[in-house]
Amino acid sequence: MDVVNALAQGLLLGGLYALFACGLSVVFGVMRIVNLAHGDLAIVAAFCAFVTLSATSLPLWLVAVVTVPVFSVVGYLTQRLLLQRSLQSGPLATLLVTFGLSVVIQNLLLELFSADTRTLDAGSFATSALEVGDVSLSYVGITGLVLAVGSIVAIQLFLSRTSSGRIMRATSDDPQTAALVGADARRVYGIASAIAFATVAMAGIVMAIRSSFDPSLGPAQLLFAFEAVVIGGLGSLWGTLLGGLALGVVQSLVAVADPSSSVLAGHLLFLLVLAFRPQGLVPARAS
């Protein structure tokens, strides 16, 4: 029974990882870069929600609903004003800028909020769960998984059905040719960043309700998200979902036997995939 329960909890945890990862997957697919501050942005979102919640009497769901679009605007602006400039000076510069951003964010949060751990108080929502047989599925966990699947469906629909989405795929395949037929790469990159920031804000808020958080947690979230993307297969959003779920399940199953090894087991799964199936579980369609 422990195993069935661990499997279910692993799927919920994996859903959250997939939510962290889908933004990373989109940005890499379009711009071929990894934002090293990705995990820290989730923590920023959590702190934003925390501050808004303590300063106003708004309900948490409303705070979340406001934070996510604000983050997508911030994402668009960050791309246009900061990252776009570094994209032009080569791949190294972007990596350095996002790494610098990560260090700045972590230490700013540390100065502003100290190293204390906090939680987002979601009242009864955080503690209640759906009982299925002997397995109890927390509503927060289900929310994370549903948001992950919902985000990926929405992004897939955006990419396949809208004209902006088609331009984004064209720019991803061949930026020069796309530019020739009138695609504005800067706008495309801005939209990709907006998607990434919005999904990572959702992930940060869900994570902050699930468990306590502090300014130093960003890098770990980045690593989990990154592993989900690589395990699933570069360039495939459904692969990212599968990768996140695989990572969550492995961590959760190993935690039953030895809680101190769960993170290590996730990393080892990543290394195994890298060694024996570098294209990932769901290889991207041939381009």
Binding site: F28, R32, I33, V34, L36, L82, R85, S86, S89, G90, P91, L92, A93, T94, L95, L96, V97, F99, G100, L101, S102, V103, V104, Q106, N107, L108, L110, E111, P219, L222, L223, F226, E227, V230, L234, S260, S261, V263, L264, H267, L268, F270, L271, L274, A275, P278
Partner: protein, 341 residues
């Protein structure tokens, strides 16, 4: 050879004084424990460690095009090697040498995994690998587990002598690191890597064994970081896994190299001195120091991509460790040296 024919050379006006000034500076640095108080030499140990790890990162990223965020893996491996060997009776100063060897030996299998990833994915992949090293090492109870260990075998050494020996060790590791970079980059591998950095496809087409050259860089860089980790543990006399495997080391390497000038051997040295001085001045500022440094690194990466030394180099053509070739007007008498390939 007629006058006016362009010649390709490496050494120039600026390199001859370098050798003289460098030799004098080195002599002064070697004699320093006899000249100044211990607190000066002990703070210089951390400067030398910064120079070593930054030079190693520059070797990877500036010349090999491999941006790693996981070199702390080898700093940690080096530190733990010294601790484990000291338990077995190996003197810690000798252990530092073994730390470099162990780090390089572990870097070989690591490279086969890490090299499956490219670009940004290599960066994050090396970070995961560093975490794996940390999480595996804290499982070894004899090495202290999560709380770390102190170094044995140093108690019978007099404190003043220990400080001096540690200083000479750190200086030695720094000199060997910079010299190794210089020697590597002037040889075939340096030329191959410069070609790879400039255009990987063209380099491959010209017959450069790109992966082999990168792997050599990766191993050398791991060895340097391993030795640096060994120096750190000999200096601190203890090791704490979360600190020694902290990604903060990568942050230091990256900031130093970016600010100093990536792709120049002088860059990490200049950057390390700037970083070190800022660290001393802003010692009381806490985390604000890193906020400031991060902002400076972002600004330099976007506005001044060649760093401080690159700016100096572009402006005055100054090069203390010339590893590149330059075209000059040949004086009539001198033969034109052929470009080695």
């Amino acid at each position: 050879m007629s006058a006016g024919v362009p010649a390709v050379s490496r050494s120039g006006r600026s390199t001859r004084p370098t050798s003289v000034v460098g030799a004098v500076l080195l002599l002064v640095l070697v004699a320093l424990p006899f000249l100044v108080y211990e607190d000066v030499t002990s703070s210089l140990v951390s400067l030398f460690v910064l120079i070593v790890i930054a030079s190693m990162w520059n070797l990877l990223a500036g010349f090999g095009g491999l941006v790693s965020v996981g070199q702390q893996a080898f700093i940690g491996v080096g530190a733990y090697t010294v601790v484990a060997l000291a338990d077995a009776g190996v003197p810690p100063y000798l252990g530092v040498l073994m730390a470099a060897v162990t780090a390089a030996a572990l870097a070989l299998p690591t490279s086969f995994l890490a090299f499956r990833l490219r670009g940004d994915y290599f960066a994050v992949g090396t970070w995961v690998i560093a975490e794996v090293y940390r999480l595996v090492l804290v499982k070894i109870d004899s090495l202290g587990g999560p709380s770390g260990r102190s170094l044995t075998g140093m108690n019978d050494v007099d404190a003043t002598m220990r400080a001096a020996f540690t200083y000479w060790l750190a200086l030695g590791v720094a000199v060997v690191s910079v010299a190794t970079c210089f020697w590597l980059l002037r040889g075939r591998i340096g030329l191959a890597l410069t070609a790879v950095r400039d255009d990987e496809v063209a380099a491959r087409a010209s017959g450069v064994d790109v992966t082999r050259a990168k792997r050599v860089m990766y191993l050398v860089s791991a060895a340097g970081c391993g030795a640096a980790g060994g120096v750190l543990v000999v200096d601190a006399l203890s090791v704490q896994p979360n600190a020694i495997f902290s990604v903060q080391w990568s942050a230091s390497m990256i900031f130093i190299v970016v600010i100093g000038g990536i792709g120049y051997l002088e860059g990490p040295i200049v950057g390390a001195i700037v970083y070190f001085l800022l660290q001393q001045v802003l010692a009381d500022a806490g985390s604000w120091y890193l906020v400031l440094l991060g902002c400076v690194a972002i600004l330099v990466a976007t506005r001044l991509p060649r760093g401080l030394w690159g700016t100096v180099h572009d402006r005055w053509g100054l090069s203390l460790f010339p590893v590149d070739y330059r075209v000059t007007r040949a004086p009539a008498a001198e033969p034109c040296p052929a470009v080695r390939t």
